[in-house]
């Protein structure tokens, strides 16, 4: 075992040796080293987060046919640091009638709910984070804390806009949790485990090829969970100004903003882990853990780019349309897909892998086609209804 093959273990052993040499208790030294490791990972994440601000601004600029930040440093790379300094030296205001403790706790919980997600992210075959056997559900649990922080922020600000924004956002987040849970069942069925590493290890064939529909539903649910366009009605600028975080200023607002960007990047990573093989890429991950980290970060960036692409292309939709889309379309389709996948998995388990892939892919296509036919007939009915109303109104004129 040298540094190149397992850098974390080498570094941890070296540090533990030093601490024990200082006369520290063995177990305590291990916990201290783990603490330092977590601190290092999260500090790196915060630095990545700063550059995500730059990436987001550059990408949105290109989508809108602008150049984006280009004055500070090469390609405007120093711009995000200027943003951070500006946030830091802003006055920290607290509105009248705010519930001070809850008001201050909410941005911290919001950031924490994103950072703890990285506990279960396997970065490389030798850097698994914490390989929980309930890994997939852990994401949902962390999301519940995020939901709670939003309702806390909205309620404690004592502002009508923020309460309405928080309620809408929470209604959307909890609703779209159901299709997300259902689509998480599908990689779980294929891998026979909820652990992230087990899911990656069993992806000799990327799960997106076995179940493209599940990958798509997971992406849609993730975008809703993030509160990004087209599901960003919580911050509908024209009606709610900015939603649940309207009364926050300075670094507290910064926590919500940075949390949202890192959350999007993290879900890009989860999309890669569940459906695109995580850190695996044709055996390259076995060469070096550094290469594996590069692979998973690249895949996470691609996922993040897809999320941005959707955000800056699709229009915001109304809350009734959004909830109807979830409960009348996405949830039934997701559960039908779970049932079909479980059945096909049981029938084709002993078949050759080509037959397995073809069967799974075909069943996905059929489910997608039938659900689209349903949507088509429903929208035809809706159009006829609207036309009928129009004719009645015209007759009255």
């Amino acid at each position: 075992m040298n540094f190149w093959n397992d850098p974390l273990k080498v570094a941890a052993d070296w540090l533990t040796g030093i601490f024990v040499g200082w006369g520290m208790n063995d177990v305590f030294a291990q916990v201290l080293v783990a603490f330092l490791g977590v601190l290092m990972l999260i500090t790196i994440l915060m630095v990545v987060d700063i550059f995500l601000v730059w990436i987001e601004r550059k990408v949105v600029a290109r989508f809108q046919d602008r150049i984006g930040p280009n004055r500070l440093g090469p390609f405007g790379l120093i711009q995000p640091f200027a943003d951070i300094i500006k946030l830091m030296i802003k006055e920290d205001t607290t509105p009248d009638g705010a519930d001070k403790v809850v008001y201050n706790l909410a941005p911290m919980l919001s950031m924490m709910s994103v950072l703890i997600l990285w506990a279960v992210v396997p970065l490389a075959p030798v850097m698994l984070g914490v390989d929980l056997n309930a890994g997939a559900l852990f994401i949902i649990a962390a999301g519940s804390i995020g939901t709670l922080s939003i309702i806390m922020a909205g309620w404690s600000s004592n502002n009508k806009f923020s309460v309405i924004g928080a309620f809408r956002q929470v209604a959307v987040m909890v609703s779209f949790e159901i299709p997300m849970l259902a689509t998480l069942l599908i990689p779980t069925i294929f891998a026979g485990s909820m652990g992230m590493n087990a899911i990656i290890q069993s992806q000799d064939i990327w799960f997106v090829l076995l179940s493209p529909l599940a990958a798509l539903i997971f992406l849609i649910a993730a975008i809703a969970e993030l509160g990004r366009a087209p599901f960003d009605l919580a911050e509908g600028e024209s009606e709610l100004v900015s939603g649940y975080n309207i009364e926050y200023s300075g670094m507290k607002f910064g926590m919500f903003y940075a949390g949202e960007l890192l959350h999007a990047f993290t879900f890009g990573g989860f999309w890669a882990i569940f459906f695109f093989g995580g850190y695996r890429f044709f055996g390259l991950e076995k060469v070096s853990p550094f290469l594996a980290i590069a692979i998973i970060l690249f895949k996470a960036l691609v996922g993040y780019w897809v999320i941005m692409w959707v955000k800056y292309t699709v229009m915001r939709i109304r809350i009734d349309q959004m909830l109807a889309f979830n409960w009348k379309f996405l949830t039934p389709v997701a559960f039908v897909l779970v049932m079909v996948t479980a059945l096909m998995n049981a029938l084709l388990r002993d078949a050759s892998s080509w037959l397995f892939i073809t069967g799974m892919l075909l069943s996905n296509v059929i489910v997608a086609w039938i659900s689209l036919e349903f949507v088509r007939s429903a929208s035809k009915k809706e159009r006829e209804r609207v036309e009928g109303v129009k004719q009645v109104v015209e007759a009255h004129h």
Partner: protein, 117 residues
């Protein structure tokens, strides 16, 4: 050692970082409160009434339906984990479990409870 200890470390560090960032912002920023600055933001117009509005009861219905499906999905995870080693019988059990709840969704839908009106 219990693996959850490490998850606990993530919770602790995940709180320390934002507390530190907000603390630094609090130290560096000016502190000059005045009544107009502190007043609730309503697009520059003086705030009217209390910061509390009546909500549609529909939010509650959606939360209830969500709760039922949340519990259902949680039940299904152990089933999905073991599915590869179990026979067709177990698959059919899971499908019956899902179908019973989808019937509930259909009932809610038919009763018009999923309409936002």
């Amino acid at each position: 050692m219990n693996e959850w200890l490490y998850v606990g470390l993530f919770f602790i560090v995940g709180l320390i970082i934002p507390v530190g960032a907000i603390g630094v912002g609090w130290l560096l920023g000016p502190k000059k409160p005045n009544p107009i600055k502190q007043s609730t933001y309503e697009c520059g117009i003086e705030p009217v009434g209390e910061g509390w509005v009546q909500f549609k009861a529909q939010y509650y219905i959606f939360a209830l339906v969500f709760l039922v499906f949340d519990v259902e999905a949680v039940f299904l995870f152990p089933w999905a984990v073991k599915l590869n080693q179990l026979g067709l019988f177990a698959v059919v059990e899971g499908i019956i479990f899902i179908l019973i709840l989808v019937a509930g969704l259909v009932y809610t839908w038919r009763k018009g409870m999923l309409e936002w009106a």
